[in-house]
Assembly symmetry: C2
């Protein structure tokens, strides 16, 4: 069994590769990314470093087809918003070309596509569920939704067998310039794990949707093996993220790391609170019926997120 | 004022050009199509014949920008379903390139895009309204919906000012090989106007959504001038088609043309009846609030459709 993983060098991609190796279902992994960390190499792996928009790079990755394509690569939300032409080139055009290339192999491959909760747009209604209208308010979400529609159509045609998985915020990301305005959600884990003070730019009462990278990758692995009997007819599922109260998440980080609670100060920034701190209740019935899962509890989520950054 | 009309040589395009000239709002009309009938030429017109997928053809059409782009050109539903790669090239890629090119001129042009009721998919629910989920069941509808989403996003960005107008069946089309399985809906007009017998492949009780080409073009002209105050927030409207009972439409054709009612025989074909003859009630509230209109009555629709084919 052969899998192609685009974005394999990324935050979610590396964890996905780790879990796929632990699972042992695939004996060949084609790993594609602009840069691949050396740790991903292995006897089961073909490494393809380069630009997804380059046809020769795509051809190297897809030349032998695949049983499963995990398509994680893409331009992130903030970058897409600043450079919509780049987002079109990567998140739409190159993505559709990649998908056509794996479909052309003729074996009706499973395609697991990482979409986003940004397909719902903003502001969100008081409750989000499987009937919430899709109305993206960012170029990133618009291009992801366009690909969801293309994948559903190609699935209907029998060209491939797609599952689009809409990701919430995945925590805790590694430190470093991500260009994401939501970076504070990850930074609070790193700060407290290192015993450093941290100023939270939203209120204690802020509500977020979150998932650990470990759980996120497990959901992608689940999507790869998802059986037709529980497959959502739309071929797109909103992952059942945990809705967390920010202050309760911080309390759980403090409890687990033994950090001094006095390290944390809340200085809410109104725009950040409005954009990231007012997430409504989410009912992800279709995803849960299909066996996708959240982290279980604030405590379990925090434990997984801390494991993800190598904290005790 | 300058307008670009793609698909200007087509069934709807020619009527749109006629109405735009009658209206007199535009002093320059750039008419683009694979073939343009000689009758479209005029001192106000720049004729661009060629393939929309050819960058040099698009550049000729968009080189001076436009106040309004009417984008009607595209691969039709049956052809798109048979050749999805062609549909992607024309209905998606070339369409997005065209749109980017007019937006690049920097004057925030109005873009009127002919979308389709095929965005709703099949089978339709018992009632269609502005909350009906979008779930295309044809490649044609999928690509049209993807462009709707791109246009809504470009509008949000301030790059252009779009209205996507979802067309129902437009009648009566000229005779000739259209490749459309719904051709019988137009052929019945031609047959009875010529006093020839016609076998209808659906039942008398079949229900269809229809609009005359005259009314369709008038709605596109309306979209070009639509004011911000009544603009649907989604930037996409389902035109308020008339829901007609097929036998009542035939009775109205007979009454208007003086044809012998015995010329008509109903021999329902189950698949055609299921695909084209079971259209549910439609409430197009957003479109009606924005001033879009249907033909008014079965009789008025039939009169307009007969005018459209030059019948008395």
């Amino acid at each position: 069994m052969r899998a192609i993983i685009t974005g394999a060098g990324g935050f979610v991609g590396q964890e996905l590769v780790r879990q796929l190796r632990a699972q042992g279902r695939f004996d060949r992994l084609v790993l594609l990314d602009a840069r691949l960390p050396p740790g991903l190499a292995g006897p089961d792996a073909e490494l393809v470093e380069g630009d997804l928009a380059d046809p020769s790079i795509r051809a190297r990755a897809t030349g032998q087809g695949a049983d499963v394509l995990f398509h994680l690569a893409g331009v992130m939300g903030g970058t897409a918003e600043q450079d919509p032409a780049l987002s079109r080139r990567i998140n739409l055009d190159a993505t559709l070309d990649l998908i056509d290339a794996v479909a052309a192999y003729g074996n009706v491959p499973r395609v697991v596509f990482t979409s986003t909760i940004a397909v719902f747009g903003a502001p969100l209604p008081d409750h989000v569920d499987d009937d919430t209208p899709l109305s993206p308010a960012m170029t990133y979400g618009a291009h992801k939704l366009m690909v969801e529609i293309a994948l559903a159509d190609l699935t209907r045609r029998g060209a491939l067998d797609a599952v689009s998985v809409r990701l919430p915020g995945i925590l805790a990301r590694p430190l470093g310039p991500s260009g994401m305005k939501s970076a504070f959600m990850s930074e609070v884990f790193h700060a407290l794990a290192a015993g450093k003070p941290f100023t939270v730019p939203v209120s204690r009462e802020a509500t977020i949707w979150a998932m650990s990278v470990e759980r996120c990758a497990a959901n992608l692995v689940h999507a790869a093996g998802l059986d037709g009997a529980v497959m959502p007819t739309t071929r797109a599922v909103t992952l059942p993220a945990l809705r967390l109260v920010f202050g309760e998440m911080v309390d759980a980080i403090v409890a687990r790391t033994g950090a001094d609670p006095a390290l944390v100060t809340y200085v809410p920034d109104a725009p950040l609170e409005a954009q990231f701190g007012r997430l409504p209740p989410l009912t992800a019935a279709a995803a849960q019926a299909a066996g996708f899962a959240h982290d279980g509890s604030t405590e379990a989520f925090v434990a997984a997120a801390l494991r993800g950054i190598g904290a005790p």
